[in-house]
Symmetry: C2
Subunit: 341 residues, 2 copies
């Protein structure tokens, strides 16, 4: 056994799973935001020297992956397998981003929950002894995401206040069996939750029920209270989704307002950056995790956090066919190392 | 340890992983093909009672999953987690297909290699004790795939002889720890291989290098020869891709022509069904595995097979931007149960 099943949807990992390194590469808007100083690299050119947004996003992934592997003191050939995905149709940012790394790949699609999914599956693989080093990687790009899901940028569409701004950025973490900056001790696998919302400009509302479901299940499965976590960190609910999450969890008897943090609400300054409800995209949770959350754990400022990236499962086809926007959220329990670990 | 690392990219699973059941649901064209009698259900209506091809594909997934779970004598609530994906942008066939099952989900994107990816990750999860029952699921639909990747059907585009016909179908397998019809004993995780081909109407050529790479690596990692497998079964290379695969492997010193079978070449009758190079799509390998390959192993007609679904990593965006079509292939080693197992 590499883990003990906990409750309905969770696993307590019994093999050691360490986060050896995290790396983040972002665009200029993210670099100008409140977390700007923490990112490893900020690109001034939104095209990152490429001819299309999609290629630019691939470059982001390649850079973040290469940097995380280097920070761990490893070479790409030392990585046994990687778990990666992105928001674009057929995950092309990942396909073209990682091809040159020549690392065995399990491609994922979890919308903006992908960093939760990749860390969960990566941790499960490491705990089971399926690889000494495993890479978790994801990205998003404002330009490629608007093109994929919404309106041409040239059209200058007005964005409602509930809309979020897709983060241009990629985050990567190398997982291993010893050393490192923090440890992953548990995962809670998310379910698709569909409350029937249909507004792709209010993804916080679409994802909040899934975040609630996964957080509630994690607390039940591990028999914990919100105060057992220093932080409960969602991916990109934004300010609208956060209020709904608090309401839904309070109906289940939990108040997480003292612990809650949302990566989408941290990455931009709402006063000066005009991003409305906050940031979103796979790259949002991934870059905030690699640049800010992981260092807090490494510094032991936080002892234990629940990291819950949230995804809105829509495509332009399903949206145009009148389908709802279901949500999914995957949770990983990340803890500071103890003395001697 | 739940598995022993073998060579560069493979794992020999040490915990028992059994395939408890397989189910397949297909469209009428597949039902009229050489394997028609083996499928569990054949739908006469290509819309499966729905208003769009995408919804129809979701129904296929839901039916296949429900059937596989039922055949294993289980209820959806008995499945600890599922691994599922499809070809559509943002994997909407899966999202809307499995939402009602209420099973924790890891969403995948591996193009037509998805059944290999889902069986590999599912087997790794079961071997590690992460769940007593795990579901692997995927689908494709001719109508939704043509819309997603190529031309409107109404346009009546001529298809070159190298083109394949996307299978309308969904295949599902329930994995567990005991009993069952066959066992998964190893996996070889695929890498993205890009030879620079750009022809989306010749996906066999795009995927053959990846199939070659994964099969070669599997033989190296497990120190086996082609004759150690009763069958080496690719997903959907078709007749053009098969020839390229043979050529590439012969350059590496292996002749698999005696063992090779391609699901895409089995599912349609080239004489009467006008499908050109063969069948393709996630549903091709998945339905042939569930309906035909698994029963051969259950009947012990085959002792050990290498199942290697192959995926072409393209999107209409990357294609229109002039990018190549890289390939990926994931392999699982599936063996007949021995007496007493």
């Amino acid at each position: 056994m590499s883990g003990q099943l906990r409750g309905k949807q969770s696993i307590e990992l019994s093999g050691p799973v360490r986060i050896l390194s995290g790396a983040s590469v972002v665009g200029s808007k993210e670099g100008e935001g409140p977390l700007g100083e923490f990112f490893d690299a900020v690109g001034e050119d939104p095209m990152f020297g490429c001819e299309s947004w999609e290629e630019a996003e691939s470059i982001l992934q390649k850079e973040a992956a290469t940097m995380a592997i280097g920070k761990a003191g490893l070479l790409p050939g030392d990585i046994r397998m990687m778990f990666a995905g992105d928001l674009l149709a057929q995950s092309i940012a990942s396909s073209f981003g990682v091809v040159d790394l020549n690392i065995p790949l399990y491609g994922l699609y979890g919308a903006c929950s992908t960093m939760g999914e990749s860390l969960a599956l990566g941790a499960m693989a490491v705990s089971a002894g399926y690889g000494e080093h495993v890479l978790a990687l994801t990205s998003s790009h404002f330009g490629s995401a608007e093109k994929e899901f919404r309106f041409p940028l040239e059209y200058g569409n007005q964005r409602p206040l509930s809309a979020t701004w897709t983060v241009t950025g990629s985050g990567a973490c190398v997982l291993g069996t010893s050393g490192g900056k923090a440890k992953i001790t548990g995962v809670t696998t998310g379910k698709i939750i569909d409350y029937g919302f249909k507004d792709s400009q209010n993804m916080g509302a679409c994802m909040a029920p899934a975040a609630c479901d996964t957080i509630y299940q994690n607390l039940m499965d591990f028999d914990r209270l919100p105060k057992d976590y220093d932080k409960i960190i969602t991916g990109d609910l934004g300010s609208v989704g956060q209020r709904i999450l608090f309401d839904l969890l309070s109906e289940k008897g939990f108040d997480i307002s003292a612990q809650h943090m949302d990566c989408g609400m941290e990455i931009y300054d709402p006063e000066t950056q005009d991003t409305h409800a906050g940031g979103s995209g796979c790259g949002c949770a991934a870059t905030v995790f690699a640049s800010y959350i992981l260092p807090q754990l490494a510094l032991k400022k936080w002892k234990r956090v629940l990291f819950v990236p949230t995804g809105a499962l829509l495509s332009k086809v399903s949206f145009n066919e009148g389908q709802s926007v279901p949500g999914i959220a995957h949770a990983v329990v990340v803890e500071a190392l103890q003395k001697g670990e």
